[in-house]
Amino acid sequence: MSVLQLKNVAVPSRLNPVDLELPEGQLVGLVGPNGSGKSTLLMSAAGLLPAQGEVKWGGRELGEIPIMERGRFAAWVPQEAQFSFGFSVASVVGQGRFAHGDDGLGVAEALARFDLGKLADRPVNQLSGGERQRVMLARSLVVAPNIYFWDEPLAALDVKHALQVLELARELTQAGATVLMSLHDLRLAMCLDRAIVLDGGNLCADGDPETVLSNELLQSVFGVKVEKTDGWNLHLT
């Protein structure tokens, strides 16, 4: 069964009608230039932005799913997290269990997974951009949802942590969850199961990254000449 279904989902002047279906256990990347509608599509699919059309999670219309249940079904990581108060790293990660009755399950593991163990007591507003990004990813991990919506999760990360996140995403999808993330690094996009290309608010390609991310398409979408070499696939050692 599809975990996410979009029918004619559109946001005036930002995203033209999009149809999309994501099955369970798929690692999907959204690529496209700045302002192409990646975040708009992600937020609409995550039910965080009012959009026209129909959004279904697990076959149910989004509007019929109670807010608390939504908090367990999907997890969202924004492009850039703003922290106004000095909550500790552990406390922010623990917020991911809000819809589960704040049981604190998996927080210690998530902190360790994102190298945040030593920062657990640090106020989040004193962290670097990359550390904040890892905190938000760890928070989404403890939600243990069916689908992850990650908006440019790798943007602020160094190469080691970026590859760790991809490895984690692979593990999550192997365990049956679906990950939909936007990203700019086309080399990393090649490691995913599926790539969706957006340009000017239109979905212009969808499929296997090797096929979809063709030189011609990349040139027409990004306006630059791209050459693939053997060095696409990166592995963490």
Binding site: I67, G71, F83
Partner: protein
């Protein structure tokens, strides 16, 4: 002491402070009381002490507790709502809105209609001011935008008050009432005032379960919604409670500034920002703070309470800011 060790002491320390402040407030005054005399007064075995306690000091102490709790709680809520630690009923003009409503009611002579006209007008003024602030300074607004919205609103409401003062032929009594509203004070507070502000207690109880949602909201509306917070309902409840609590506090004691700014700030620094702890601790600590300020005001030749909270709160807040930077 480490933060988690300090956190264990948050509630006992605040309650201890409040008990000490209540005791001080009951024994300090024109007629000093020993603990024995206090007991004699409370149990009506000494009629003079009983009169002073039951007619003057107890209602005054209880009103101080109510307004301290209300203003500190409103400060915490507004800071979480606007995601800015400088948001507070005083700086944003909500208190001034309440005061302007009350002053207009007094100036127009409506106060004579009913005992509840002035509080209702204060609530109306505070609600209007809150709505204006929500429009002017959206959630997550920068400190500059928030402060400018507050400055603009405070100036506008000040103009309303000045208009009432300069254009109505006022009796001495009405003028005195208006000055009371503008400077804030606890003189001559009666059991009626205690009852009038009693819904503050209900507000505090209703705020309690919102603590966790406020944690999530203070890190962003969208993020909170994604984690399962009913953002619209929680924010509405936060705003209504903060506004009504501020309005009731202003209705019984006039404009008392800095409580909503300083108290949450101090307790957040001492015990961390988690609202499930911060809300109750600020409610108890805010009550203790206002009580202590009132004792100082009484001891310093019956100064106005609003002057004392500003004199203590202002420099303390500046010191905190300096220390933080």
């Amino acid at each position: 002491m480490k933060l988690d060790e300090r956190q264990k002491w948050a509630m006992p320390a605040s309650i201890g402070l409040l008990v000490a402040a209540m005791f001080t407030s009951l024994v300090v005054g024109d007629m000093g009381m020993s603990p024995a005399m206090l007991w004699a007064g409370l149990t009506h075995t000494d009629e003079l002490a009983a009169t002073v306690l039951w007619n003057i000091r107890l209602p005054r102490t209880l009103v101080a507790i109510e307004i301290g709790a209300a203003l500190a709680a409103s400060g915490v809520v507004m800071q979480a709502f606007f995601r800015n630690h400088l948001a507070s009923p005083g700086l944003l003009g909500v208190s001034a809105g309440g005061a302007a409503g009350a002053v207009v009611a007094i100036g127009a002579g409506w106060a004579a209609w009913s005992y509840f006209t002035v509080p209702v007008a204060a609530i109306g003024g505070a609600v209007a001011a809150t709505m204006a602030v929500v429009v002017l300074a959206k959630q997550g607004a920068s400190t500059e935008r928030l402060l400018l919205a507050g400055v603009a609103l405070n100036a506008l409401l000040g103009a309303v008050t000045s208009y009432v003062l300069s254009n109505f032929t006022l009796s001495y009594e009405r003028n005195a009432q208006i000055i009371f509203w503008l400077l804030g004070g606890l003189e001559d507070r009666t059991w009626e005032h205690v009852l009038m502000a009693a819904p503050i207690g209900l507000g505090a109880v209703l705020l309690w379960p919102l603590g966790r949602s406020m944690d999530l909201l203070s890190l962003g509306q969208t993020e909170a919604q994604s984690l399962g917070v009913d953002v619209v309902a929680v924010r509405r409840r936060m705003l209504v409670l903060a506004t009504v609590m501020t309005a009731l506090a202003t209705a019984v004691a006039g404009m008392v500034g800095f409580v909503g700014l300083v108290v949450p700030h101090i307790f957040r620094l001492l015990f961390g920002p988690e609202h499930r702890r911060l809300v109750p601790v600020s409610i108890v600590g805010g009550a203790a703070f206002v009580l202590f300020c009132d004792v100082v005001a009484r001891s310093a030749g019956n100064l106005r309470l609003g002057i004392i909270t500003a004199l203590i709160g202002g420099p303390f807040f500046l010191w905190m800011l300096r220390r933080q930077s």
